[in-house]
Amino acid sequence: MPYSEKLVGNPETGVVHGGCITTLIDSVCGAAVFLSLREMRRVATLDLRIDYLRPAKPKKEIACRAHAYRITKHVAFVRAFAYDDDPNDWVASAAGTFMIFEPRSKEPR
C-alpha cells in the first residue's frame, strides 16, 4: 500500500489510519486464501484480529504478507503481518478466518 496523504489518520504525525491497515491485511489474506484453492470460489471474511505492534512510519509504503496455513472444506485460516521498512519489524500482526463458498452453480441467488 503506497503512502498517500488521503490515508492519514493522525494529521499531526502523518501516520495512516488503522482502517487502511485493516483493509490491506483483509485484502492480502483473502488473496492468500484464493491462491491456495484449487479452483475459483467466492471467499468472505468471517473474522479478523489485528494487533497493532507499533505506529506505521509516516510517508512509508506499508506491505503485508499473508499465509493461509489451513484450508478445510468450508473455512480457511490465515496469519499475516504488515511492515514498512523492515519485514522483521512488524507494524501489525493478524489472524483471520474466511468462509469458502460452494461453487457458483450450487449457490442460491
Binding site: G9, E12, A44
Partner: protein, 144 residues
C-alpha cells in the same frame, strides 16, 4: 489549532464535524460522526470505492473495520476524560452479514474503561440496528 485543542473544543460544542474534517482517511472513506442522544453515531456514506466484491455488491471488510474503529475512538474522545488520542492496541472484527451498497451506521459501548486501557465493543448496521453487519471488540491505550 492543535488536534488536542480541536478535541477539547468539540467536547464543549457537541459538534464533531470539525475534528472529522481534519482526518483525511475519514474524509476519503466518507465516515462522519454525530452526537445523537448524547451518544456518538458513526455513519459511512456509501460510495462505489467502498466495494470489496463488486460482483456480490458487498462492501470491503476493511472499510467496516475502519468505521468500527473510528466510532470507538470518537466514543472514547466524547465520553472519557482522555487527554491523549487513544491508541488502538488490537481490534477483532466479526463479519456477520454481507454489507450492501447503502450507508452504514455504527455505535460503540465501553465494556471496561480503566485509567490506562479501555475495552470497547462496536456494532455496525445498515437497514436494521438489530441486524448488525459487523461487530468489533478492541483494546485502546489511553495513556502515553
Amino acid at each position: 489549532m492543535s488536534l488536542m485543542e480541536t478535541i477539547k473544543s468539540f467536547r464543549a460544542t457537541g459538534d464533531l464535524s470539525g475534528l472529522v474534517s481534519e482526518i483525511p482517511y475519514m474524509k476519503m472513506t466518507g465516515i462522519e460522526m454525530n452526537v445523537l442522544d448524547n451518544d456518538v453515531v458513526g455513519t459511512m456514506r456509501y460510495s462505489d470505492q467502498l466495494l470489496g466484491n463488486a460482483r456480490a455488491h458487498a462492501l470491503h471488510g476493511g472499510t467496516l473495520g475502519a468505521l468500527l474503529e473510528s466510532t470507538s475512538i470518537f466514543k472514547l474522545l466524547w465520553d472519557a476524560e482522555t487527554s491523549a488520542l487513544p491508541k488502538t492496541i488490537n481490534i477483532t472484527v466479526q463479519y456477520l452479514r454481507s454489507a450492501t451498497q447503502v450507508d452504514t451506521f455504527a455505535r460503540a459501548e465501553f465494556i471496561r474503561k480503566g485509567r490506562r486501557v479501555a475495552v470497547v465493543r462496536a456494532l455496525a448496521w445498515q437497514e436494521y440496528p438489530d441486524q448488525p453487519v459487523a461487530i468489533a471488540n478492541a483494546h485502546f491505550l489511553l495513556v502515553d
